[in-house]
Amino acid sequence: MSDSQQPSDFEPVDVFAETDGMDLRPGSDDCYKCSTCDTNCPVAEVDDDFPGPKFQGPEQWRLKRKDDYDIDDSITDCSNCLRCDTSCPSEVPLSQMHNTARSQYVDNQMSKLSVEYIRNRILSNYRTSAYLASLFPRTATFVMNFGPVRWVMEKGLGIPSERDFPEFATTTFRQWWKQRGGAQVQNPDKRVAYFHGCYSNYNTPEVAKALVHVYEELGYEIMVPEQKCSGTPMFANGMLSDARRHAETNVENLTAAIEDGADIIASCTSCSLALRQEYPELFDIDGIEDVSNHTYDALEYLRIYEDLEAELEGAEVDFPDLAYHAPCHSRNQGLDGQALELIENIDGVMAEDVGDSCSGISGTYGWKTEHYDVSMEIGEEMFEHMEHAEGDVGMTECPTCAMQMEHGTGYEIKHPLEVLEAALVSEE
């Protein structure tokens, strides 16, 4: 078995003084210019101001010398969907290149006083805003979507007024978890630590609850460790120092859970991707490799360790037909087919794939006025396919994809775990 199959088989080092970025020039060794990455870039397809991942990644890096600090400013147009990373037939560490270049750009070329910088920080630190909002969820939901406030946001911060801020849950998942007295199943042999991410906690606790019900039904003991943001929105905004702070907390608590015999599961595919891929690529924190090696997508974990087909034998649900969109970040982990395969085994629900396009929102990307139109144009194909599909309820694993699906079609959006819950867990 050759090591060449392992992504990024070189360990980059810090070459460029004055930044905390690593030298990724050796990564250009893997590029043979086939341009597969470019054909996968949803932004380059709708916006020719964006030169595409081949230029942004291996070409820009290869042209760099030690004293060169000018990153082309088009790096901020990259939505960090990572489709290029997954498509590259040659192991070029594209996401690492983009994330590092973006971070260097923000560090060296972006004014810390600019509205753009401040807005990006607010957006990428969603957890903080969500936490504040969760103290007064109903008020927050109202205020955030209140016309005059939105006008101020658009004019002052460049947050498009077309977007609806997500509703804040009246009870967060963690509050609910505490209220129910934590884990209801004890099982030292089947233990998982749930990385719920910010969104399931503050906005869609029903997804987190579905996970808890499904896993407990299958006999798992669930731990819910202290945790912060996975860092996904921060990588995408070049805020690596913020992301590192959060990562340190996460790694510390998740490592402790691993020592207690738990594997880590996530219901949000961007969170699992961050823990699995971006953490070891971007940070050198004690235990980070361990965390990466023990993290799974919640559905994937059950497919590997449980006989779901047998479990679902004869299961019948009363569920609306679904239009399913596989998020880029699930695709990046090789999980794009699993939700549909699962639902094939459940009677009473149909799910239809709405194609392999990107939803276009890419986390905070579509939340910026200057990217809103591009974001909607990228999403156009998905919206059309959703309209085409039989079902008029959407399904996806990614919270921001869900926002975009809802925004573009008005559909209600479900998570596959909710379908699984309906099939496996008897009504209480």
């Binding site: 070459v15 250009s28 043979y32 820009q60 290869r62 042209l63 010398r65 990153i71 040659s90 059309e384």
Partner: protein, 579 residues
Amino acid sequence: MESSTGVLVIGGGSTGTGIARDLAMRGVDVTLVEKGNLTHGTTGRMHGLLHSGGRYAVSDQESAKECIIENRVLRDIASHCVEMTGGLFVQRPQDSDEYFQKKLEGCRECDIPAEVLSPEEAREVEPYLAEDIERAIKVPDGAIDPFRLCVANAVSTENHGGRIETHAPVTDVLLEDGEVVGVEVTHESGPGKRVHGKEGQKEKIYADHVVNAAGAWTGRIGDMAGVDIEVRPSKGVMTVMNARQVDTVINRCKPKGDADIIVPHETAAILGTTDEEVEDPEDYAEEQWEVDLMIEELKELVPILDESRTLRSFWGVRPLYEPPDTGTEDATDITRQFFLLDHEDRDDLTGMTTIVGGKFTTYRMMAEQLSDHVCERLGIDAECRTAEVPLPGSENTEVLDDAMDRFGLRSPIARRSKQRLGSRAEEVLDVDGPNPVVCQCEGVTRAELEDAIDQSGTDLNAVRLRTRASMGNCQGGFCSRAMADLLHPEYEEAIAREAYDELFQERWKGERHALWGEQLSQAMLNYALHATTLNADADPARLGQDVDFAAFDGGEFDSVERTERGADAVATDGGHDGN
């Protein structure tokens, strides 16, 4: 065809172009003839090191002192050809302390700034250095682009009224009454521009004095003139890495040996070298052991080299010379000094001077001494100005930064273009209409290529040397054909096709030496693109093959029906509906 000139210089390498520029600036009427491209010989096949002199600080202090002086001059007059990377002499555990000390003292004795770095400090400068190094000496080595430098010297020569004639090999030295009166060249092209496939014509160029600066070929010119010049050519391999593993010149701090230097050059890093005497400077073995040795030895200094991608290897031949009867056994011991052979004194042959040996870094000083000598012979009283007047492209590059924004280039491409073009960037890049990047590996735009074609005609290898197009990781796989397309319509398509074949083959010649891992994958992709997708290997137009078109599938409809069908065709598909 006949012409006459004041001084005729044979050889378009650094020495020849340096001499031509020097004499032209002194007001001498100069013609330079070169058998191939500029830098066709040794100059085009070196690792691009601008010596600080550190390398010779122990073995040859004379040379070391010359190097540091010229190093400072070139930084000044050729700024667009030089990257001041700095250099390190790195000591490994098995390398002697005594030699390290000698090297340090030697540098100081020769006025070469030298500073000792601890292993930590050295690794801070170059993080990819091996962890077990002992220490290093920091010296002002640099990287220099020999192509750009020679082109700049040639342009300067022309600006001062000189004539540069490439692809014009000397086929005879003209003698009258025991005196050299000129040379005969055979043109492989029309005047000044190369056009393939034109039958060459001979030209007799009469001159008051002939300068033989043909490097490894000086002996052949000598033969034509009936004098004996004993050049001892010695080959050395240079292995080109795809990326810069280091941004500083890395030298192994030990007495001379094979594979002891890494030079960061433009986007790449060049490993060197070997030192093997050869019989014939144009025909010698390029061997696997040499390439493997570069990687095996130099990974001791920079371990990542072991798994890094190699683009190609090339060989150069040093035109070493030693006076008759010196009789050095081992080529590695032959002096690197240059020699000025006045054939009047030496062989009773007036009208010709030969310059041989020496080093690229000191080319200007050599040219100055030779020009002084020639001027003395011809009774010309003029001062050398080459150390003060910047070369074309190196004047006032500071004002450029603001202008670059106007050309709509992505920043790394603008930066690289400027680094290559120097002060000419604005005039070259300021074009109407689109200016797409043609060579994406090196970031070369169409405007820069068209400018190079204006200078060098249909010889795409000359265009490559000027621009670096096709010198990146795909080795011309993706751009060689597009480069050739630029020759059209000024030149007919068949000529463009031939130019593409020639460039593609030249790229292949070096790439063969790197065929494993990523580069073998690249080679197969290139082969597939050019043979499968373009059918360049079996193209009937190339093979002069008659094709019976009627024997093949003529389609389901004739074109008239097709037109109607096309107009009536209805699009059926609203895209993938997920089922």
